[in-house]
C-alpha cells in the first residue's frame, strides 16, 4: 500500500466515523472542520483513537487528538506516526 493510499484510507475512515458519531452528513466534513465545533465529545475522541489504532495498526499518542483540533492537522500527525514505524 502506498503512503498516499494509506492517507486517503485514514481520511475516508475518519470522515465516515466522525459523521456517524456527530450525526451529520459526511459531505459537511472537510479538512478544516474543527472537532470541538462539530460537537465531538472527549470520550468519543478517545474511543475514535482506539478505532484508528485497531484499523491501521499504529500506536497513537493519547494526547494527539487533543493537540490537533482539525481533521487535516490530525491526519498529518497520523501520517507522521505511520512513517515513523
Amino acid at each position: 500500500m502506498t503512503e498516499n493510499a494509506t492517507r486517503n484510507d485514514v481520511a475516508a475512515f475518519l470522515t465516515r466515523r466522525l459523521a456517524e458519531i456527530t450525526k451529520r452528513d459526511p459531505s459537511a466534513i472537510t479538512g478544516s472542520s474543527v472537532f470541538v465545533e462539530m460537537g465531538l465529545q472527549s470520550i468519543d475522541a478517545v474511543l475514535l483513537c482506539g478505532e484508528v489504532e485497531d484499523t491501521f495498526g499504529i500506536e497513537l499518542d493519547p494526547a494527539s487528538i487533543f493537540e490537533h483540533d482539525t481533521l487535516d492537522s490530525f491526519l498529518k500527525h497520523i501520517d507522521e506516526r505511520i512513517a515513523a514505524q
Binding site: Q41, S42, I43, V46, L47, C49, G50, E53, D54, E59, D61, P62, A63, F66
Partner: protein, 573 residues
C-alpha cells in the same frame, strides 16, 4: 613504589525502575545482565499502607537499596525508568465519573504527575552527578507485561494486562514470542474491570482506596448469586474483541440505582453485602471470560496475566483448562508495585539494545530487605520476660513443633517477598488442623473480620491430593476447591465455599517451608501449614526486626522467629 588504585573497578550501569502511579510506589534495581537485584514496595520501608503519593525513590530507602546491590553513587551510571509514559493530568480529557467520584481520579492523577516529574531526583542527594543519570518513561501496560514475562517459566505466551487504568485504557494484549513482546491491541477509554471492582467494593460497604477489594472476594463465598442482578451488572461493560467499554452514562446510573437496593452501608453487618459480593464476583468472572476468550492464539497454551485484576485469585483459579489456555502464570507482583521491575527491565533492554525480556534465573519472589545483622544483640535486650533461643539449623522443626502445640508463630527469614503476598519469609504460621485457630488469628492477632479466610501452603508434588483442578501456585495467585475428602482435616484453611488460596512449595525452591510441612505431616498427618502475612489490619507487612517484635508485643501472637532466633512468650497454663 607504584601507586595502585585500591578500589579500581569498571564503571557499572544500574537500571532503577520506579512505580510512579501515585499509589503503591516501589523501586527495583536491575544490573547489567538484566537480573533484578533488589525490589521492594515503599510501603514496607515507611510502614504506611499503600504509601500514597510517597516518592518511590524515597531517599533513605533508595540508599539502602543501592547498598544492598553494591552500587557506587560516586562513580556508577544510573538509568532511571518510570512506569508511565504520559502524565495523565496533562491530558485535556474530561474525567469519566459515572462509576467512581471524579475527585478520586483527579487526586491520583495529581499524585502521578508529581511522581513522574520527580523520579530519580533523589539520586542527586546520594552523590550521583547529573551527568551520570538519565530518565526514561515506559508505557504502563508494557511495564506490567515485562514484569509478567520476567517471572514466567515459558518463552512464548499470550501476555494480557487487565487493570484499573493504563495510558489510554484498562486492557492491553501483547504477544510474547521468544521472550519478545509485541503489542496486539490496547483498549481506549474508561471501560475497565478494575474500575468495575472498585465500584463493587464501594457498594459492598468497603473502600477501594484502602485496598479492600480482598474483603469483597472473601465475602463472596457467603452469598448467593442473584440472577437478575447478575444480568444487570454484566450490562455495565461490553468486550468488543476483548476491548472493554462501559455502557452509556444513563444506563450506568440506572444499574447503579438498582445495585443500591442490595448494597451494604459501611457500618452495617458485613453479611448484608454477601449477595452483592457473590453476584459482583460472578459478573467480574463473566466479563473477564469475554476478554480472555478473545485473546487466545492457536498453538499457544500459556497465558500470562498481570495488572491489578490479576490479584483476583478466585477468578484466576478457574482459567487453566478453559478458554483455550492450558496454564496460567501470574507474577508475584501483578499490580502497580510490580511495575518497578518492568520499568527497570525495559530500561536495561533499551540501553543495551536487547529485544528479549530477561528471565529471572530462579523465579524467586524474595527480592527485598533481609533482617539486619544486629539481630542477636537486639534479641538479648528484647528478651526481658520472653524466652529466646538460637535455633540455627533446626528452626523449621522447632517452629513446626510449636505449631503442632497450637501456638501461632510469626517468621521473618531472609529477603522479603516482593508483591502483596507473604510467601513464608514474612508470614504468620499455624497448624490448620486446629479448628479454632483461624478465629484466634483473625480476632487476637490480625484484628480483622471473623469471616475472612486464611490461606494454606501445600507441597507442590502433592497438590492434586488436596485440591481439584491441581496446578502450581508458587506466588499464591489462584484459589481452588479443596477435595471433598480432605476438607475436615484442615478446617482452618477451608473457606466457606470449600476453597483455599493456596501457595505450593517444592524442596528446591523453598527448602525451609518444605521442611516445616514435612514436620507437620509427622505430627498432624497433614503436610499443610496456615500462612498469613506478618502484619496487623491496616498496616503493611513487617519490615524491620522492631516491627516484628512490636506485633509480638501488641497482639496474641505466641512467638516470632527472626532468622535463627525464636522469641516466645512463656506458655500460660
Amino acid at each position: 613504589m607504584t601507586l595502585r588504585p585500591t578500589t579500581f573497578r569498571p564503571e557499572t550501569t544500574w537500571y532503577l525502575g520506579l512505580s510512579t502511579s501515585g499509589h503503591d510506589p516501589a523501586l527495583a534495581i536491575a544490573d547489567e545482565t538484566g537480573r533484578i537485584r533488589f525490589a521492594e514496595a515503599t510501603e514496607r520501608f515507611v510502614q504506611d499502607k499503600r504509601a500514597w503519593g510517597i516518592a518511590p525513590d524515597h531517599v533513605n530507602h533508595l540508599e539502602h537499596a543501592l547498598k544492598v546491590c553494591g552500587a557506587d553513587p560516586e562513580r556508577d551510571r544510573f538509568v532511571v525508568a518510570t512506569s508511565w509514559k504520559s502524565v495523565k493530568a496533562a491530558l485535556d480529557i474530561s474525567v469519566h465519573d459515572a462509576m467512581l467520584p471524579a475527585t478520586d481520579t483527579l487526586w491520583i492523577r495529581g499524585l502521578q504527575a508529581g511522581l513522574q516529574a520527580g523520579a530519580g531526583t533523589n539520586l542527586l542527594r546520594l552523590g550521583v552527578e547529573d551527568a551520570r543519570r538519565e530518565t526514561l518513561h515506559f508505557d504502563h501496560h508494557l511495564c506490567h507485561a515485562a514484569t509478567a514475562a520476567y517471572f514466567a517459566p515459558v518463552d512464548d505466551a499470550v501476555n494480557l494486562v487487565l487493570d484499573g487504568e493504563g495510558e489510554v485504557g484498562a486492557a492491553s494484549l501483547f504477544s510474547m514470542s521468544g521472550r519478545r513482546l509485541t503489542r496486539k491491541w490496547r483498549s481506549w477509554g474508561p471501560g475497565s474491570l478494575g474500575t468495575f471492582y472498585a465500584w463493587l467494593t464501594f457498594h459492598c460497604g468497603f473502600d477501594w482506596r484502602l485496598g479492600e477489594e480482598w474483603k469483597v472476594m472473601g465475602l463472596a463465598a457467603y452469598g448467593t448469586v442473584l440472577p437478575d442482578l447478575m444480568n444487570e451488572l454484566t450490562g455495565l461493560l461490553s468486550a468488543d474483541r476483548g476491548r472493554l467499554k462501559f455502557t452509556d452514562d444513563r444506563t450506568i446510573a440506572a444499574i447503579d440505582a438498582l445495585t443500591r437496593a442490595h448494597a451494604r452501608a459501611p457500618g452495617a453487618p458485613v453479611m448484608d453485602g454477601a449477595d452483592l459480593a457473590a453476584t459482583g464476583q460472578a459478573a467480574y468472572a463473566a466479563l473477564a471470560d469475554l476478554v480472555i476468550s478473545a485473546v487466545r492464539e492457536d498453538g499457544v497454551p500459556d497465558l500470562l496475566l498481570s495488572g491489578g485484576c490479576a490479584l483476583n485469585s478466585s477468578y484466576n483459579g478457574t482459567i487453566a483448562g478453559r478458554l483455550g489456555f492450558e496454564r496460567l502464570h501470574v507474577p508475584p507482583c501483578p499490580a502497580d508495585d510490580g511495575n518497578a521491575i518492568g520499568a527497570a527491565l525495559l530500561a536495561f533492554m533499551q540501553d543495551r539494545d536487547e529485544e528479549a525480556v530477561p528471565q529471572s534465573p530462579d523465579a524467586s519472589p524474595f527480592l527485598g530487605t533481609t533482617p539486619e545483622r544486629a539481630l542477636e544483640r537486639k534479641m538479648m535486650f528484647a528478651a526481658n520476660g520472653l524466652v529466646v533461643a538460637n535455633v540455627a539449623g533446626r528452626s523449621a522443626d522447632v517452629v513446626a513443633g510449636r505449631l503442632s502445640q497450637g501456638r501461632v508463630i510469626g517468621v521473618m527469614r531472609g529477603a522479603a517477598e516482593f508483591g502483596p503476598r507473604a510467601l513464608g519469609h514474612r508470614s504468620i504460621l499455624a497448624d490448620p488442623t486446629y479448628p479454632g485457630i483461624k478465629d484466634r488469628i483473625n480476632a487476637e492477632i490480625k484484628g480483622r473480620e471473623p469471616y475472612r479466610p486464611l490461606a494454606p501452603v501445600v507441597p507442590e508434588a502433592e497438590v492434586g491430593d488436596w485440591f481439584e483442578r491441581p496446578q502450581p501456585s508458587p506466588y499464591m495467585s489462584v484459589t481452588l476447591p479443596w477435595r471433598n475428602a480432605v476438607r475436615d482435616l484442615v478446617p482452618s484453611v477451608v473457606h466457606a465455599d470449600g476453597t483455599g488460596r493456596l501457595q505450593t512449595v517444592s524442596p528446591e525452591t523453598q527448602p525451609w517451608m518444605s521442611g516445616l510441612l514435612e514436620a507437620l505431616r509427622r505430627t498432624s498427618g497433614a503436610p499443610v501449614a496456615l500462612n498469613t502475612s506478618l502484619n496487623v489490619m491496616g498496616k503493611p507487612i513487617a519490615h524491620s526486626v522492631e516491627d516484628a517484635l512490636a506485633i509480638l508485643a501488641t497482639t496474641g501472637l505466641d512467638g516470632v522467629l527472626c532468622e535463627d532466633f525464636l522469641v516466645e512468650k512463656p506458655v500460660v497454663d
